[in-house]
């Protein structure tokens, strides 16, 4: 899309028909080829110094997440403590990028994190289904922001998107972005419900055109959550979008990434698809709860030469 004239992008938002024409004019994605590419990227062998570097980067890109009905103030405080000092025994261990919680726990997280550089992200817009009126979704967003959320993770209206009502999905993102004020907006595509890579590419472009600061794969509540092929299509989309508009958009892979090995594969994919510019917590995130402990375990193994049992790492 290097050559797409900017006025075309403006036109895309001008009418439902123009938006549809634009999204359906994007190059298709060949499923077999896309999956073969990620399989080939997964064979990269990351060892010794590069592994140490990648483990630290992976830790620093984590949105440490708890999104359960049974979440408590105590659990969020514990999670915040872990975010600040993932490995209490090793001061050189980097902090995670953010804590991700429901809106009612944002204030707790802000208080626990103080003025550290760990961000607070809140899901909003009737997460995870998005099945609510626009007013309710926007109020949800405003609640999160006024409680102090730095980042808002919204869900797109999959019903509207899948039925072809792109304009409605687009308008909701625009409205939510407005409700965010200065908070960063991450738009969750819920790729597990979009079914095709063509749809993932269209939803990515739709979200970026509507003003997303980040595009995010999944809520974590639908299977499959993040997969490598889906994330690859989204990385190609942000690369092409920057080529066309000059604006850089971040990518967040969320859900299902639970081992250090997987996390490193994602970082390799980022490196070889969009390069250094995205190898930074400001532009690439991994949404996870279990992943951090495996990263810490591998990190300890790398420095001490020995594996410690899981009891040596805190549960949250």
């Amino acid at each position: 899309m290097a050559s797409a004239p900017p006025h075309l992008l403006g036109e895309a938002a001008a009418s439902p028909a123009a938006l549809r024409r634009f999204l359906h004019g994007l190059p298709g994605v060949d499923q077999v080829g896309c999956e073969a590419r990620t399989a080939s990227l997964s064979t990269r062998s990351i060892k010794t110094t590069s592994k140490a570097w990648a483990l630290d980067l992976a830790i620093s890109t984590i949105d440490l997440t708890t999104l359960e009905g049974q979440d408590t103030v105590g659990k969020v405080r514990a999670l915040c403590a872990k975010a600040l000092h993932p490995d209490p025994a090793d001061a050189s261990c980097p902090r995670v990028a953010a804590i991700c919680v429901y809106p009612d726990l944002v204030a707790t997280a802000r208080a626990a994190l103080g003025d550290s550089n760990v961000r607070v992200a809140s899901v909003a817009t009737a997460f995870p289904s998005g099945r609510s009126s626009l007013d309710v979704k926007l109020q949800d967003t405003r609640d999160a922001v006024s409680a102090g959320a730095h980042e808002v993770d919204m869900v797109i209206d999959r019903g509207a998107f899948l039925s072809g009502d792109y304009q409605r999905a687009f308008d909701e993102i625009v409205a939510t972005k407005q409700a965010c004020g200065t908070a960063h907006l991450k738009v969750i595509l819920e790729t597990g419900e979009l079914m095709t890579y063509d749809n993932v590419r269209r939803a990515s472009w739709l979200s970026m055109l509507a003003g997303a600061d980040f595009i995010k794969t999944s809520t974590g509540k639908v299977q499959p959550a993040a997969t490598m092929p889906v994330t690859l299509v989204m990385l190609q989309a942000v690369r092409d979008f920057r080529d066309a508009t000059g604006r850089q958009v971040g990518v967040k892979a969320a859900g299902g990434i639970s081992t250090a090995k997987d996390a490193i594969r994602y970082l390799v994919m980022v490196n070889e698809t969009v390069g250094d510019d995205w190898l930074d917590p400001a532009w690439f995130r991994i949404g996870a709860s279990r992943l951090l402990n495996d990263l810490l375990m591998q990190r300890t193994k790398l420095t001490t030469g020995r594996y410690c049992g899981p009891d040596y790492f805190t549960l949250d």
Binding site: S3, P27, G28, V32, G33, W53
Partner: protein, 476 residues
């Protein structure tokens, strides 16, 4: 921040290299009666081993051994029993896969990820596939009782040393023939390791004979009056010489020769995957692939877009130590081949095409050539007509599907082609008009034992692989 990959070399210790190798004739290792020559690692120019050169007498001994094995043991043996040997060989190939992959990368220069993930798994797959045919030949559609031809003289190239051996030996043995095989002089080592595997599998002596050497040895194999069937994979020039040698004899021949495949990208193609396919089509195995997609035909309306993406992608290719697990592009197989690639690339520039190479550092020692594309190429340029057999892509454009087909077919070769479009009807329309033995749609350089492979025109005749591959080794 920048993500550097630390060296991740596969260990050489799994390979037990001998300082010198003899010939494998009649189940035994014998010293060649002529000279010996050296096999070097193209990545470092390190001498790996001394290899015997088979003289005419050695070839004669090999053919006689193959004849004895054919008449006394292999042809009379039931298909069920032959299959057992082939299955056993296939299993040993899998068991020793790592050793074979490391040796192949050492000797040939191809990246370990290709020898490990493509060559060696396919080698085992071809043996398994043809093992399955050995007791079903009556049902292959070639009459009720098809018979083997006798002794097959097989000459193979250096680009896929072990895989080409498998393409030749597996169907020949399944059909009840015995073989005398000559590997390429720069890449004999995996064929010699295969001979060890034949011993390990208790294959009856003389069923497989390996004679090493250069052109003279190959000529002796092809010209030997005791050879009933000649199978060759290699250059069109040598293929023509072989055709002249066997003319007027009773020998049957299959030739798999050069190519100058068109990889056609339409404007509605899945572009990111098409770029992967272009890269895989020409840079896989350093472009030392007879069916390489060495002519890229791009529809004008997406030309800029495709070129931008292609250059971005090429900049991420990792060139270097073939044994490093993260290497994408290995070494050029020989100084001679490197000189040929350089010469044709210079001709490309002289003829006015624009050259662009991926920014990369090449090692000081060994034979290396950076992945390169030429734009502004026309059909008249030598780089669009001749097989370069290296990591060099010629880019041409077209406007209409008819023009794409016309340009794609406008070559003396006809081995393979690729079509990239999201439109199914266009794939079929184009594929039906392409004069190429293999047409890949929305992929490139995919191989499978069940699929026949072979050329039109100067790319040769006969088919290898699949049920069709049996025809070359059966009288019917």
């Amino acid at each position: 921040m920048s993500f550097e990959y630390a060296p991740a070399p596969e260990s050489r210790s799994v390979v037990d290299l001998k300082s010198s190798y003899g010939l494998f004739i009649d189940g035994n290792w014998v010293d060649g009666s002529a000279h010996s020559f050296k096999s070097v690692s193209p990545a470092t120019e390190e001498v790996l081993a001394e290899i015997s050169e088979a003289s005419d007498d050695d070839v004669d001994a090999a053919v006689k051994a193959a004849r004895r094995a054919f008449t006394r043991v292999w042809a009379p043996m039931s298909g069920v029993e032959r299959a057992k040997y082939l299955y056993r060989i296939a299993r040993i190939l899998q068991e020793r896969a790592r050793e074979l992959a490391v040796l192949e990368s050492l000797d040939n220069g191809k990246p370990i990820k290709e020898s490990r993930d493509v060559d060696v798994p396919l080698v085992a797959a071809y043996f398994f596939y043809y093992a399955g045919w050995a007791d079903k030949l009556d049902h292959a559609g070639m009459g009720t009782n098809p018979q083997p031809l006798g002794v097959a003289g097989q000459v193979i190239p250096w680009n896929f040393p072990l895989l080409m051996l498998a393409w030749k030996i597996a169907p020949a043995l399944a059909c009840g023939n015995t073989v005398v095989l000559k590997p390429a002089e720069t890449t004999s080592l995996t064929a010699l390791l295969f001979a060890e595997i034949c011993q390990q599998a208790d294959l009856p002596p003389g069923v497989v004979n390996i004679v090493t050497g250069a052109g003279d040895t190959g000529r002796a194999v092809v010209a030997h009056p005791g050879v009933d069937k000649v199978a060759f994979t290699g250059s069109t020039e040598v293929g023509k010489a072989i055709a002249r040698t066997v003319a007027g004899t009773n020998k049957s021949v299959t030739l798999e020769l050069g190519g100058k495949a068109a990889n056609i990208v339409f404007d509605d193609a899945p572009l990111d995957q098409a770029v992967e396919g272009i890269v895989n089509g020409i840079f896989f195995n350093q472009g030392h692939v007879c069916c390489a997609g060495s002519r890229l035909l791009v529809q004008e309306s997406v030309y800029d877009d495709v070129l931008t993406r292609l250059k971005q992608r090429m900049a991420t290719l990792r060139i270097g130590d073939p044994l490093d697990k993260n290497t994408d592009i290995g070494a050029i197989n020989s100084a001679e081949q490197l000189a040929k690639i350089r010469e044709l690339s210079e001709v490309g520039e002289t003829e006015g095409a624009e050259r662009w190479s991926a920014p990369c550092e090449l090692p000081d020692r060994g034979f290396w050539f950076a992945p390169t594309i030429f734009t502004g190429v026309s059909q008249a340029h030598r780089i669009a007509r001749e097989e370069i057999f290296g990591p060099v892509l010629s880019v041409l454009t077209f406007r209409t599907p008819a023009e794409a087909v016309e340009k794609a077919n406008n070559t003396p070769f006809g081995l393979s082609a690729g079509v990239w479009t999201d439109k199914g009807s266009r794939i079929l329309w184009v594929a039906n008009r392409l004069r190429a033995g293999v047409v890949w749609s929305n992929t490139f350089n995919r191989f499978d034992p069940t699929s026949p492979f072979g050329g039109y025109k100067e790319s040769g005749f006969g088919r290898e692989g699949g049920r069709h591959g049996l025809e070359a080794y059966l009288a019917h």
